[in-house]
Symmetry: C2
Subunit: 293 residues, 2 copies
């Protein structure tokens, strides 16, 4: 039988496989799937790599979209460059989670970084990323990178290191990510940050996860002298509007930001720039209200 008999566009009409991630079973993004590249189950979670028509390859952990090739740059640039361009000398950086390597890649683009430690509980996420997402996982081979396969909280309890910047690049607060949203965890982070250290933690959608945000920011404000939310638009995350908690012992995210440092660092970015840095801390009224309650 001649395979050419079936024309490709004809196949595309027949082939009708969809990935849908729902919020409360009521609304969510539907993405047409070309094929499933990998499905596996680690000690902690189900891991899938899907190829999609609109967003390219997509990493799905525990049923939630972690990243797609097309828009991953937004999340990874925004979690990394905002704190690294506020801290005047971020030489020692810790990433908790982020086994896909995207945040590590962005952190290592800062020449000032001398050591980047990454603590990922699930080695299989790193292995899958190395195999299927080579553009994300390039940082793992950098001599400045050091990878720990360990629970984030356990690592913080034991480590004798002190960090300039810590990024919490966690999944949603269900499954293996649950502990990374709790007060105990944030208290430990405070301890292993230097006296002028900065924490940035991804903090979910201000539209869909208001309960999580209320609790999380209340805890963070009890621990850190300066806590500010910043936002970014991430089309493949629930609701498309995403937030990050900027928590600092000393530096202010705007007042201590010098855009000349961005220019001289000369890092090529697709989303982040000095104006976006400042603009991302401007919050719509409904989010300001959410953070007051």
């Amino acid at each position: 039988m001649n395979n050419n008999y079936i024309r490709e566009d004809f196949m595309e009409n027949l082939w009708n496989v969809w990935f849908t991630e729902l919020h409360r079973g009521q609304a969510g993004l539907s993405i047409k799937v070309k094929c499933c590249i990998y499905s596996g189950e680690s000690q902690y979670q189900r891991i899938d790599v899907l190829d999609t028509y609109e967003f390219g390859r997509m990493l799905v952990l525990y049923g939630s979209i972690m990243l797609t090739e097309r828009d991953e740059f937004i999340y990874h640039e925004m979690i990394s460059h905002v704190p690294l361009f506020v801290h005047p000398a971020p030489e020692k950086v810790l990433i908790i989670g982020g086994g896909d390597g995207g945040s590590l890649r962005e952190v290592l683009r800062h020449k000032v970084v001398k050591e980047a430690h990454l603590v990922e509980i699930d080695k299989m996420v790193i292995d899958v990323s190395k195999r299927y997402f080579p553009k994300l996982s390039i940082g793992f081979d950098d001599p400045r990178a050091c990878i720990f396969i360990e629970d984030g909280q356990d690592f913080l309890e034991k480590t004798k290191n002190l960090y300039d910047v810590i990024l919490v690049d966690s999944p949603d607060p269900i499954g293996p990510g649950e502990r990374l949203f709790q007060r105990k965890f944030h208290q430990l982070i405070y301890k292993v940050l230097k006296e002028d250290g900065i924490l940035v933690a991804q903090s979910e959608s201000p539209l869909f996860h208001q309960g999580t945000i209320r609790t999380m920011y209340k805890n963070l404000k009890d621990i850190f002298p300066l806590v500010a939310m910043y936002i970014a638009y991430i089309p493949t995350y629930p609701s498309g509007l995403w937030s990050f908690a900027f928590c600092s012992k000393r530096y202010h995210p705007i007042d201590d930001f010098d855009e000349n440092r961005v220019k001289s660092a000369n890092i090529r970015t697709n989303y982040y720039n000095p104006k976006i840095h400042q603009a991302s801390f401007a919050l719509p009224n409904f989010i300001e209200e959410l953070l007051k309650t």
Copy 2:
């Protein structure tokens, strides 16, 4: 038969009706529907009102989501307040499209506005909004409002009015909205704007509608001395990231913006505020690149 026999949460599991709006047949938002409140067909388009679990009532024109009760405030505040707080005396305002009344409602909250003209081609959209979206359509009864049931371009060709601010609150450039994205239409707008007038036109998603944006901004830059894009997060519009074209004969959207006017106007908003006004003109690099091409 006793209707109480069927428990409501049990019904919710059985009931599985979804509205999905797809981009290129490849990705889009899926929203679970409680019930269909209204379906009709006007001379121009199919019109549906659906009740949804996550976003409340939803107006669908020509198969596309126009608004939902839950997030309509974002679009309507951002299309209206940005130009009306830049223009120092927006006394006479024209809205083209916007038959749902949301933009008219926001425009009329500015006490300085003396006359607000609204030109909608499809009377049935206004009638449906008056019946099913009373919170949006309140402006139609305001003595300062004047409604014209007419094609936008025909209106502009005939009118002897001159306006301070014109809003193009159009649907997507298919069906009845198509003409509202063309050069001829923007040239007519330029003519009926006063010598210090401002046009704001919704300009689709910078992620999903790059072709439309390229053509539209090229045309606008040929006509207006100052053209700037600003953006807002609208979760129920394609990709969640939406853009507006700010086109001005004299005033600069940031340099001529005085945040004290926002304070003294004392309009209660859920999204818009002076910081958001300025931040919305900061564009991610990939959008800056799009506008250069």
